[in-house]
């Protein structure tokens, strides 16, 4: 029972960890970046005129950012809605920009299923999400038109060639999004500014330290702007992460309750069977506390053995499941991914410690009862 519970916890934690980690990386690389800089009004969505949200001097900020070696890329970004037309069909689309030169490293996360990624050498090419392409029957090489308003409210439109069709792990993103080179979008919107500056880091662990080092520089370069981390912006990630955390805790509590009841029953039975033995030991002069300690020690040995077997079993099963490449489609995902279970030391430690503690706790009450047993009555149980 202990071994099964420990193995289950290791597998479940490893599975959800990989899922949440994958979602985090996809969210950061395809949407939020590690850090984003934008005006206060952009974050607070207070201004009705989008033009007021623009950062005109973003190139100065980019130059400052590019000095930091922890930063992999920093690029301006515009995001707007427009009408995407292909043939006779049109649909409202979210357009997000990329800087094809600076943000090359992001391409692998877009997972281009057809065609090729955007290039600064081909400014009039766009990439379309797989869901969106399906809705408008768009293929690579298709001609599409994007119609939108400039920041001054004038209607503007441009024709593009579809260079590729991408598919991230987030279905909602793939169903609505069109990627456009930043310079082209600036031309379409008739602006030289950007709404946001997106920063990608070499390591997610540097997020906080980069933010802290950038904050004072920003206050002098662009005092109206504010910097936010990916975690503050990734709503879906936060919801999934929180859900998994609660779910894991509930599953662990159920498993550990079962372990508690099962061990209490096992130790209780063992004490029943050994009532005569306990009576004899107490008659010979064994102290009550020693009897309790003996049964607690038995519980500890039982727990430790179970934890060791469970840990080895969990590691073995994790490798076994990883080798099977079982496909699974998560809610909100656009394509199946293969089940990958991370073997986490933290999960092993958590399952191991709680397994041993629960086993010892389970043995506590029966052990205490055995020690309080009337010696004469206990002796009447024949050995």
């Amino acid at each position: 029972m202990i071994a099964s519970a420990v193995a289950c916890i290791i597998l479940f934690e490893g599975f959800t960890f990989n899922m949440v980690e994958g979602l985090r990386e996809t969210t950061i690389e395809t949407q939020t970046g590690h850090l984003q800089i934008a005006s206060q009004s952009f974050w607070e969505k207070k201004k009705l005129r989008p033009k007021d949200n623009l950062i005109p001097n973003y190139t100065k900020i980019l130059a400052e950012l590019n000095r930091d070696k922890r930063i992999k890329y920093a690029a301006g970004r515009l995001e707007f809605f427009g009408l995407l037309s292909h043939g006779d069909e049109s649909i409202s689309t979210r357009v997000t920009t990329v800087d094809p030169f600076k943000e090359r490293s992001r391409n692998k996360y877009f997972n281009f299923r057809k065609g090729r990624e955007l290039s600064h050498k081909r400014p009039f090419e766009v990439a379309v999400g797989s869901g969106l392409a399906k809705k408008l029957s768009i293929e690579t090489g298709s001609q599409v038109t994007v119609l939108t308003h400039t920041y001054d409210g004038i209607v503007n439109a441009m024709d593009f060639k579809v260079s590729g069709i991408f598919q991230t792990d987030i279905a909602e993103f793939d169903d609505n999004t069109l990627l456009m080179p930043l310079k082209t979008a600036q031309r379409l919107l008739d602006t030289k500014a950007v709404e946001q500056i997106v920063i990608g880091l070499n390591s997610s662990r540097d997020t906080k330290s980069v933010m802290e080092s950038m904050a004072p520089k920003l206050s002098s370069l662009a005092p109206e702007t504010d910097i936010k981390t990916w975690f503050q912006l990734a709503t879906l990630y936060k919801q999934v992460s929180m859900f998994n955390s609660v779910q894991n805790t509930i599953i662990q509590m159920i498993l550990m309750t079962l372990v508690l009841l099962s061990i209490a029953n096992t130790v209780g039975m063992s004490i029943m069977e050994r009532t005569g033995e306990i009576g004899t030991l107490r008659a010979l002069g064994e102290q009550r506390a020693s009897v309790v300690v003996q049964f607690l020690f038995e519980g500890f040995v039982l727990g430790t053995t179970g934890v060791l077997i469970g840990t080895l079993g969990g590691i073995g099963l994790a490798h076994f499941f990883n080798s099977l490449n079982i496909p699974i489609v998560f809610p909100g995902a656009s394509s199946p991914i293969f089940i990958k279970i991370a073997v986490l030391f933290s999960a092993m430690a958590k399952a191991g410690i709680s397994g041993i503690v629960i086993t010892v706790l389970a043995a506590l009450l029966p052990a205490y009862r055995s020690a309080k047993m009337n010696i004469v009555q206990a002796l009447r149980h024949n050995i």
Partner: protein
């Protein structure tokens, strides 16, 4: 407390002073012992006799500090046990008393040697000393060839010899034996009694045992009869045929 007793020289090993014991059985109360006065002198080989339900085992349990009397006091080597707490009583049993039970009560998972070693473990002796003393005790009871045997590999007589070795190994002042021969055939019972008597004489250990077997009682240097929880005195209460 144990240190105080260790070198104590006292004529009376154990004394029961007006000991009574009441048990609650649901709403009823059963008086198992009533006003029992009893003395056991040093080096005695004494018996408590009486029919079933007369209170022999209860008296032995109280004298062995396995349970407390409802009233009265038990003095061991002149010291009252009334105020001993559970810890002190256990410590007292571990150091000063040896027990032999009717059903042997050996630990089934331990060998004969380990069973005999166990009381010495409670006295916190070194492993080497424990082993030596346990081997000596088993040799004394004639089980030198059965050191490694488990209880289920031995006969009833051999098991009782292991129990005797376990009782004598810590050199107690008193051995309490509750019907030690009741589960044995007559020949083996005689051998066990011979052994107990020999240990009483050679090692100077006082022995108090209970029995209702006339043949066994003949071996005792003194016999105290119990009837309905009271000491039977033939002068005061007339004749009684003990089975």
């Amino acid at each position: 407390m144990i240190v105080q007793l260790k070198d104590r020289v006292c004529e009376n090993i154990v004394q029961a002073v007006d000991v009574g014991r009441k048990y609650s059985l649901g709403l009823c109360e059963h008086q198992a012992l009533l006003g029992v006065n009893f003395n056991l002198k040093k080096n005695d080989f004494a018996a408590i006799a009486g029919p079933s339900g007369s209170g022999k085992s209860t008296l032995l349990n109280i004298l062995g500090c396995l349970e407390r009397p409802s009233n009265g006091d038990v003095l061991i080597e002149g010291i009252s046990t009334q105020k001993f707490n559970t810890f002190e009583l256990a410590e007292f049993r571990a150091h000063r008393l040896g027990f032999i039970f009717q059903t042997f009560n050996l630990i089934p998972t331990l060998s004969a040697l380990e069973n005999v070693e166990y009381p010495l473990l409670l006295l916190k002796l070194k492993a080497k000393d424990r082993r030596l003393q346990a081997e000596e005790a088993l040799v004394k009871v004639g089980l030198e060839k059965f050191l490694k045997s488990r209880p289920n590999e031995m006969s009833g007589g051999q098991r009782q010899r292991v129990a005797i070795a376990r009782a004598i190994v810590k050199k107690p002042v008193l051995i309490l034996a509750d019907e030690p021969t009741a589960n044995l055939d007559q020949k083996t019972a005689r051998e066990i009694l011979d052994l107990m008597q020999r240990l009483n004489v050679e090692d100077g250990i006082s022995v108090l045992f209970s029995s209702h077997d006339g043949e066994v009682l003949k071996r005792a240097s003194s016999v105290t009869y119990l009837v309905d929880g009271q000491v039977w005195n033939p002068k005061e209460r007339g004749n009684l045929l003990v089975a």
